[in-house]
């Protein structure tokens, strides 16, 4: 049954940070309602039975701050999201009741996830998407050993943060990653991105053999592209598991549908396990896609993020905590200058033959 009203929680209670228990489900739903009202875009978090089911299935691993009375005053989680690999979990869903924000609940949940939960569930790795309208989340992630790997330009819709910051405009996100159980393997890198990728990999503590792309696409290889649309955010994500000779027509169909649905931010995650991707990457750059960064273990093998936006990004307005993140931003900006500016108008994308 969907929670549809807030139940006040007494202030000043002591709490314990712990893994999810089924009895916590109603408290988690109450917490989401208290913070977001009825407007959180994922219904699961309002329905206790679904919270229990998703935790039981291992799609979400909730961590809570629980009082002796059983009230839930804060929440964080590891959960399966956009990656193809089921071993790569996203860290997030952090929320804290307003009357508990002076406490260290969020920090303690962050530590618990980092020190205990990742081992318990045997994650291969964790990643996060920290907003860039402030640096608090980036810094919290850095403290638990997460490394900067990609910059997602204009990912979040403007309205979400306007109330908090008073600033309008979409918000970019810094992707950060930490390996738990690495899988050493070869990756095939388009030459144009070699320098930036080598820089990104420097401190990630993962073992990769970098090889140069070579060869043509095999004629008997069919593209495997898996698309998710986040209409409420204006974002489309495509996981390019395999680029075949039909990739251009697959791309045309993806873009035409996305633009027709009002999508304004396109992200392609490209599997780097095949040596023949260079032509496909160049095609994307001709279409206005530019570098986002490197996404370890996205496919169980690693991926390359490319992205396209239809308006000029405000790179100077992107707030970044670390020197490495600022370096990534410069790589992204330089590629936007070279390739991103070519992004066609939405009308051209709609009219392109699928």
């Amino acid at each position: 049954m969907r929670v549809n009203h807030e139940i006040p929680i007494e202030s000043g209670q002591k709490f314990q940070v712990d893994r999810f228990k089924p009895a916590d489900a109603t408290g988690i739903a109450n917490l989401f309602y208290a913070i977001y009202g009825p407007d959180y875009p994922f219904d699961t978090y309002y329905i206790p039975e679904r919270i229990i089911e998703e935790n039981h299935r291992g799609n979400i691993h909730s961590v809570v701050a629980r009082t002796p009375k059983g009230d839930i005053v804060a929440h964080g989680a590891l959960y399966r999201s956009s990656p193809v690999s089921s071993g790569l979990f996203e860290i997030g869903q952090y929320i804290v009741l307003k009357n508990y924000r002076e406490t260290f609940a969020a920090y303690k949940i962050n530590q618990y996830i980092s020190e205990s939960l990742t081992q318990f569930i045997r994650a291969d790795g964790i990643f996060g998407e920290a907003v860039c309208n402030h640096v608090t989340t980036q810094k919290s992630s850095a403290l638990i050993g997460m490394k900067d790997v990609a910059l997602e330009v204009d990912l979040m819709p403007a309205g979400v943060y306007e109330k908090e910051t008073g600033k309008s405009g979409r918000v970019s996100c810094l992707m950060q990653f930490r390996s738990s159980n690495d899988r050493p393997h070869e990756v095939f890198i388009p030459q144009i991105y070699r320098e930036s990728i080598e820089r990104i990999l420097e401190d990630c503590s993962i073992s990769r053999t970098i090889k140069r792309c070579r060869g043509s696409v095999p004629s008997d290889c069919e593209s495997d592209v898996r698309v998710k649309y986040f209409g409420h955010a204006g974002v489309a994500r495509a996981n390019v598991v395999r680029m075949g000779p039909d990739f251009e027509s697959v791309l045309n169909r993806f873009e035409k549908k996305a633009v027709g649905d009002g999508i304004i931010v396109f992200q392609l995650f490209i599997n780097l396990d095949a040596p023949w991707n260079e032509n496909g990457v160049e095609l994307l750059r001709e279409r206005g896609y530019f570098l986002g960064g490197y996404v370890p273990r996205w496919f169980d093998t690693d991926g390359l993020l490319m992205q396209k936006v239809f308006s000029q990004p405000d790179f100077d307005g992107i707030n970044l905590y670390s020197e490495k993140a600022r370096q990534i931003k410069e790589y992204v900006r330089a590629d936007w200058d070279r390739a991103g500016k070519r992004a066609e108008s939405t009308e051209e994308a709609v009219n392109r033959k699928a």
Binding site: F104, Y107, T136
Partner: protein, 79 residues
Amino acid sequence: MAVTVSDIIAIMKEAGINPEIVSGLKLDVPLFRQGLDSIDLPVIAVATEKKYGVDLSDADAAKLKTINEFVLFLNQKLK
């Protein structure tokens, strides 16, 4: 054994606080005016709890503004 300023500085460095900031800290100036922020406070508090086995509540930790106040508080707790 009494807790000293050097002990607190060492805890901060081990906990991952920016070493450039830590090495320049003044003892009687509020930490939030010397480059530390709301993320750093729980890091320091939890690391201190672990090292000395004291119960440092979130509310207590939030009142400790300077290094000298940290040292004084801990030594009172450890008596």
